[in-house]
């Protein structure tokens, strides 16, 4: 078995071929709407992940954007112009995000860019968008840095961020579970930003951080992390782990039945990440911005519309990711209507003053855009697994809701330095 012809040269060639094939694949993964209207269409470039760590969430994000577009097209488009869309896969990779944004702006002449799951990708896209003056909606990346040091005049952030969720949970958890906190941090921007926010809040409220375990992106084996947690023996484990890493960690915690041994405070749990999993994997308390089980006006109709238009989706009920994609796009198009132009500065000024009543948004409190950092301020919910139900869609039990004013992320606001309007290139597609 030891005699063979596979050399290091072949291995190197393999790596080169693989890279070329991946690049070629990325450039081919394009889908778009067809048809022509009388007036020139407004083209929306969708930058949702279709592969990589956030592929499942990216699919939900895209579906939310498309439902909003379909609604507007059904009533004649915006400013009398039909809305078209082009989707390119950002592969959960910042470099691809930059390339895709450049291509959508220069080649496909899109009016707006919409979609994000990863803060690294969102940051990369927004740098390109700012260069050209193209409005970009970060729909679902929840790193505080997105509305902090990486904010831009053209970028608007629609998800709750790590600091919002931490503020909703930390104070209560210290009183209820104890003061010894251990941080589990995904070793990239979002993880560090979120854990830093939690650290500040824990310290401020009289708690102690007994340690921090950094988890590299792409980690699939959490056995060493789980052993370390036991060696630290904390009262509370605050985890800022996302995407596939979180899925693997959750499966392993569930398998060892450690979910009930410690008080777990998880950051936001995206619906596509938990859908279809056993409830034992859904341990601790976690954040969300929306749940299809809310007893609020409009929710049932929204769910019915989702089910009608997404019959092909394996996810039978809409979640927070879909909701954010939908609301971001809907708000953008409403802002264009209100501004009566697609001029970027005019639309930006509309969005900076954007307010959405709770009854429209199907949340408990009114939502509003913070003009200083461009993050939508909205109700933040804490939830746990619903162990009283066996319905596969009825996964969450909502524990609390907190008004946006109580969980504002002042740290990010202080770090955000928006470019001046004059410094943003004019863009009127």
């Amino acid at each position: 078995m030891n005699n063979h012809q596979v050399t290091r040269g072949m291995q190197f060639t393999g790596a080169v071929v693989l890279s070329i094939a991946l690049l070629a694949g990325a450039s081919c993964k394009k889908s778009s709407s067809g048809g022509d209207g009388a007036k020139p269409p407004i083209v929306i470039g969708i930058t949702a992940d279709a592969s990589g760590q956030y592929a499942a969430s990216g699919d939900s994000d895209r579906r939310g954007v498309l439902m909003a577009i379909a609604e507007f097209n059904a009533k004649g488009g915006v400013l009398g112009r039909p809305i078209k869309w082009v989707h390119l896969d950002t592969e959960t990779t910042p470099a691809t995000g930059s390339r895709v944004a450049e291509r959508l702006i220069k080649q496909d002449k899109v009016a707006f860019l919409v979609g994000a799951m990863s803060s690294g990708v969102a940051n990369a896209i927004s740098q390109v968008a700012q260069k050209y003056g193209v409005i970009y909606l970060n729909t679902n990346s929840s790193s505080p840095s997105e509305s902090g040091e990486n904010c831009h005049r053209v970028k608007f952030v629609w998800d709750g961020n790590g600091n919002n969720f931490a503020q909703a949970s930390v104070k209560g958890a210290i009183g209820k579970f104890g003061k010894k906190w251990l941080l589990i941090t995904n070793d990239y921007g979002w993880g560090h930003d979120t854990s830093n926010g939690t650290r500040k809040l824990v310290t401020k409220n009289g708690g102690t951080i007994v340690g921090e375990i950094l988890v590299p992106q792409g980690t699939r084996d959490f056995s060493a992390t789980l052993l370390k947690i036991q060696q630290y023996s904390p009262d509370v484990v605050a985890a800022a782990v996302g995407g596939d890493d979180l899925k693997a960690m959750r499966a392993q915690v569930g398998q060892m039945k450690l979910g009930s041994k410690y008080a777990w405070i998880n950051n936001q749990q995206d619906w596509p990440d938990v859908y279809g999993l056993p409830r034992t994997d859904l341990f601790g308390v976690f954040g969300t911005t929306w749940y299809h089980g809310f007893d609020l006006p409009g929710v049932k109709e929204f769910v019915a519309r989702y089910q009608k238009e997404n019959a092909d989706s394996k996810i039978k009920t809409p979640g927070n990711v879909f909701y954010n994609g939908y609301w971001a796009t809907r708000s953008l198009l409403e802002a264009v209507e209100k501004a009566k132009t697609t001029n970027n500065v005019a639309v930006i000024k509309e969005l900076e003053q954007w307010k959405i009543p709770a009854k429209d948004r199907m949340q408990d409190h009114d939502a509003y855009m913070n003009p200083k950092d461009h993050q939508l301020q909205q109700t933040v919910y804490l939830a746990s697994a619903n162990l009283d139900s066996t319905n596969p869609d009825d996964l969450f039990k909502i524990v609390s809701n907190t008004a946006p004013g109580e969980v504002e992320d002042k740290d990010s606001e202080a770090k955000c330095k928006l470019e001046a309007y004059e410094a943003t290139p004019a863009y009127e597609p």
Partner: protein, 303 residues
């Protein structure tokens, strides 16, 4: 005392890594094809096992089957799913056959294409979201050693991995068919000249390698989680381990699996941010001093 749990954990992890690389090693060693579809076959095995354990598509007809104990259905899946993937492996070998004797890139491109097709097919059939491969309660949960809880499933998986590795070793070293496989890897023309049907041998080896990938998928996805692109998580460490161990060497793969497992386990415990990087640093370190890997055969390029 703090180190020991991480070493024990690393050894168990190493067995799983070794298991992951086994099918990959077999196909590279015998066929001289770097099978980039290994990860997709790994994922497909897990998805098929999930369907065998819970055949919801059977509707009312499947209810009787679902009433059987999970352990029985799991055992059945552990046999049937690899067989099905093995059959698919035979089909894949038919396609790869056209690349024999040509530059290595042809085989690479073909298996890479197959990997893309398989992953996309999985996505179409089962959707892009996370799925759950259930395991019997008897191997679920944790057990306490000292003050620490270990995963019972992880040690069950490692034990299963050891049994499988032993079976593969017995097959290769103690059976006439294993001798033909090894001879085919050593000098296929001579084996053909001796009247052995080398084409059939290759079909068998490819199917066997694919089935081993499927078994690794069934065993590992309850730990890693199950999603269409989980194969990418499998193919990279598998490739690294066979290069580290020496391409085509059974014991090389086993030892390299252990080295990677212990390295990742210890760095995970004491410098977690380096745990992923540590296996690549180990590879660089070993290849710097021993370019052919730990137990790889000396090549013509070396003095």
């Amino acid at each position: 005392m703090n180190l020991l749990p991480h070493v024990v954990n690393g050894v168990a992890l190493g067995v799983l890594f070794g298991l992951l690389a086994l099918g990959f090693m077999l196909i590279v060693g015998v066929m001289e094809v770097i099978n980039l579809a290994h990860g997709s076959l790994f994922a497909l095995g897990a998805y098929l096992a999930m369907e065998i354990i819970s055949p919801r598509w059977l509707g009312a007809a499947g209810e009787g089957f679902l009433a059987l104990p999970l352990a029985l259905r799991y055992g059945l899946a552990l046999v049937l799913a690899p067989l099905l993937v093995g059959v698919l492996g035979m089909g894949l070998e038919r396609a790869v056959r056209r690349t024999y004797g040509k530059k290595a890139e042809y085989g690479l491109l073909l298996t890479f294409g197959a990997a893309l097709v398989l992953e996309e097919a999985i996505r179409i059939v089962w959707g892009p979201g996370e799925q759950n491969l259930p395991v019997p309660d008897s191997v679920n949960g944790g057990f306490v050693v000292g003050d620490l809880i270990y995963s019972r499933y992880r040690f069950f998986a490692a034990a299963l991995g050891i049994v499988l590795m032993a079976l593969v070793w017995v097959f290769l070293e103690r059976t006439p068919y294993g001798a033909r496989v090894k001879a085919g890897a050593h000098d296929s023309e001579m084996v053909r000249a001796l009247g052995i049907n080398i084409s059939r041998l290759r079909v068998f080896v490819f199917a066997f390698g694919a089935a081993l990938a499927a078994i690794a998928g069934i065993i590992l996805t309850p730990i890693w989680g199950l999603r269409p692109h989980v194969g990418v998580d499998a193919v990279i460490p598998a490739f690294l381990i066979i290069v580290l161990g020496g391409v085509g060497s059974f014991w090389g793969a086993v030892i390299a699996g252990q080295l990677v497992g212990i390295t990742v386990g210890i760095t995970g415990g004491f410098a977690a941010e380096w745990s992923m990087m540590s296996m690549y640093l180990l590879l660089i370190f070993v290849l710097t001093f021993r370019a052919r890997g730990l137990l790889g055969k000396k090549s013509a390029l070396e003095a």
